[in-house]
């Protein structure tokens, strides 16, 4: 009974955070960035009417800074909440994140998939996305691996994802610094009704496996 109450509280906190993150991301993308874009267009219009070369160059510089800001805000928004998860699905969102991950950390990610992708509720897709994101971040931080693999296995009523690296691995008994992240991933999966497993061996790498009924 107590465990259920704790699970509900935990689920409520996680969902509230996700809702807030989504709200901020959409506000950035659809509110602030739209206004910035209007300003950028306006600057271009003003620039075309300026005759003085010095002022024209200054206006061009401002437009360029505005363009950079629009791009930064867009990337910040996507970093907070991957819009593609509702439009193109979980696999597309993870592929897009994997590309960003390689650009950031230089770790190459191979994505494989078997079976037909099924539609899942947004909340469950986000749970899986966040767990994959955490697993990849752990690879960048601790594994010292140059590449990793994500394998999706879609079945009629379940999804299994394996995230493997051939990095330095760690002792599950003493890898204390990672335990909070691992516990958070496990908790997220349990709340969503799924399972979370991790196996690791020093010098041989780590495999995170998650399963979720659809």
């Amino acid at each position: 009974m107590e465990l259920n109450a704790a699970n509900h509280a935990c689920s409520y906190i996680i969902q509230s955070q996700e809702d807030e993150i989504k709200r901020i991301a959409l506000e950035l993308h659809e509110g602030i960035n739209q206004n910035l874009y209007s300003l950028y267009t306006g600057l271009g219009y003003l620039e075309s009417g300026i005759k003085e070369p010095h002022m024209k160059s200054y206006a061009k510089e401002m437009a360029s800074l505005m363009e950079r800001t629009i791009q930064e805000v867009r990337l910040l928004s996507v970093g907070l909440y991957p819009n593609t998860i509702t439009t193109l699905g979980l696999e597309a969102a993870i592929k897009s994140y994997a590309k960003l991950f390689t650009d950031t950390f230089g770790v190459l990610i191979a994505i494989k998939s078997s079976g037909r992708e099924r539609t899942m509720a947004e909340q469950r897709s986000m749970t899986v996305f966040r767990v994959c994101q955490e697993a990849l971040i752990n690879i960048a931080k601790y594994a010292d691996a140059s590449s990793a693999e994500i394998q999706f296995t879609w079945k009629e009523k379940s999804l299994k994802i394996e995230i493997k690296d051939a990095g330095k691995g760690f002792n599950l008994e003493s890898g204390i610094e990672r335990f909070t992240g691992i516990a958070a991933m496990k908790e997220r999966m349990l709340i969503a009704g799924g399972q979370f497993y991790i196996s690791s061996e020093e010098g041989k790498g780590t495999t995170v496996t998650i399963t979720l009924p659809i």
Binding site: T104, F105, G106, D144
Partner: protein, 158 residues
């Protein structure tokens, strides 16, 4: 053909500078990050002492990572015992994670009066950089900066 030869010579000169610095300071890793001529991405085209190829795939945005921060502020940056006492999260420093570095000193590289790159000296142990080491880095930084006009002009032509 002559253009390719010039480019190869320029690359060799920058790599020679890095080798001199690596030996003079007995550090584990030295690298030059440069902002692309078009766009805001920053890459690591020249490195010495790398343990893997990850630097080749890293393409960070202006203001991000140790190089991005140095380029954005135009000021040097020092880390003595990564990830202890760093500003932000360890994931904000991809090259430190990729090369398993523990200490680093980064300087901005200027082109046309604007910071367009960063020179990084780093070790895989904790280290406080001495004034002598910083002076040596500053000397090499000036040599590298002297190759940047050709580097960026070539980018413009390309």
């Amino acid at each position: 053909m002559a253009f390719n030869k010039d480019e190869a010579n320029r690359q060799a000169l920058i790599l020679d500078d890095l080798t001199i610095l690596e030996k003079a300071l007995a550090c584990d890793f030295v690298g030059v990050a440069l902002q692309k001529q078009k766009g805001l991405e920053i890459t690591w085209p020249f490195v010495r002492g790398n343990r893997n190829e990850k630097y080749k795939y890293i393409s960070i945005r202006y203001g991000k990572g140790i190089a991005g921060k140095v380029i954005a502020t135009g000021s040097p940056m020092e880390i003595n015992l990564f990830p202890v006492n760093i500003s932000g999260k360890s994931t904000d420093y991809p090259i430190m994670l990729a090369e398993q570095l523990n200490s680093a000193y980064a300087l901005p590289l200027y082109w046309n009066g604007i910071p367009k790159g960063a020179l990084l000296i780093a070790s895989r142990t904790g280290h406080f950089f001495t004034e002598d080491e910083k002076r040596s880095a500053d000397h090499i930084k000036r040599q590298i900066e002297s190759h940047l006009p050709e580097y960026f002009n070539q980018g413009e032509e390309g």
